[in-house]
Symmetry: C2
Subunit: 230 residues, 2 copies
């Protein structure tokens, strides 16, 4: 309760769970740590909040900055929302660190550009399934992110962040299939989808997609704002 500012302070880090879908798999962006602690091991990308020059950057700014540094993608091209704060006392063996974790969704069309732009040596897209043994408490953060995306997928327009700007019904359904780990019924998904169209959330775009089989109509997301709620 003592509301004084004189006391030792923890470090505040910002960590990112950057997700995309490649080859029908949910992937997460991991780095290989180049320094202790956990040197040589894999971890989520992240960094410390800058507090200089006073008063420093907003938490959200810090997350956006890290995201940009780590992916090389233009700001605004990637969906970003806060996951929460992770603050187990022993999560960093060296000193006290609070991590504010964020999750980001990268369109598959942009994913290939990420490795090129990243500064860190060992940046890679790793399959989420089977990923384990990350540094710090990053296993737990990753798990929380996946749970969160799975839940939010149902009630917020997240899926549109994992397809190209224009997309077919099949492509969108594929996002759900991958994230939920099971196939949706084609016809039922289509109906749900078309309902969104005449609610005005989606509109048919011009052109069509020729992807091997029968060409499909393409749509575009126009619903309200894609921004998070905060």
């Amino acid at each position: 309760m003592s509301y004084t500012y004189e006391h030792p302070r923890p470090s505040v880090a910002v960590d990112l769970v950057v997700l995309t879908i490649v080859d029908s798999e949910l992937k997460v962006l991991l780095i290989r740590r180049g320094e202790p602690p956990f040197e040589g091991e894999r971890a989520l990308p992240g960094g410390f909040l800058r507090t200089e020059p006073e008063p420093g950057e907003d938490l959200e700014q810090a997350a956006q900055r890290e995201l940009q540094e780590e992916t090389g993608l233009p700001p605004g091209a990637v969906f970003l929302d806060q996951l929460g704060a992770f603050g187990r006392a022993d999560r960093d063996p060296r000193t006290r660190v609070i991590s504010v974790a964020w999750y980001a969704l990268v369109r598959p069309t942009l994913a290939p550009f990420v490795k090129a732009g990243g500064d860190a040596a060992g940046v890679e897209w790793a399959a989420v399934e089977g990923t384990q043994g990350l540094a710090f408490d990053h296993d737990a953060i990753l798990a929380a992110a996946v749970r969160r995306v799975r839940e939010d997928l149902e009630r917020r327009p997240l899926a549109f962040e994992l397809v190209p700007e224009t997309f077919t019904i099949g492509e969108l359904r594929h996002v759900f299939d991958v994230i939920h780990g099971q196939a949706e019924d084609k016809g039922n998904f289509r109906r749900r989808f078309l309902r969104m169209v005449d609610e005005g959330l989606l509109e048919q775009a011009s052109g069509q997609r020729r992807t091997g089989r029968r060409p499909a109509r393409v749509y575009r997301f126009v619903g309200a704002q894609r921004a998070p709620r905060r």
Copy 2:
């Protein structure tokens, strides 16, 4: 990206949005600040994360500790979950502070004991509606908490945290009415409720409640775990 530990560190605070229902109104626990900044103004209860002795306390521990200090209620009697981190650079005029906010739900039966137990001078239950002008960014934190509770009420067993251990259907419906600001249909709510009973989430308790009118059956929540997901 520089993953070094040598840099100025922000303070980390833990703030609480403690909610209850009294007199058919959603109430939030507020304190009157006794020192700068914002001396004399109202604010959410909270305090700084303790990092001594090394490595200090977990974030969740800190929240529980504050909750206990502020309400005087026994630990475990109150539902607590994390809201998120609030870190606008200018949120504290004096120095850089990151706030990790939590929301708590106090049963109406316990609410009256809170003022007695609190140490701070000006602890009060204030109606959420119309509350404004809180210190720091606490208006925003409060708004986020209310939005979150409204959403979670639908898909997690939150309502049971705002009734006595045993409760009538009407009492539970009242929670929804107050939080959503509009009355549910009696019959429809009842059906939803009874569905939970034969799903095993609720069980009829012994006895009945005599509260003025016709006595009502009382129920008890037995569903899985009440704990948050983290």
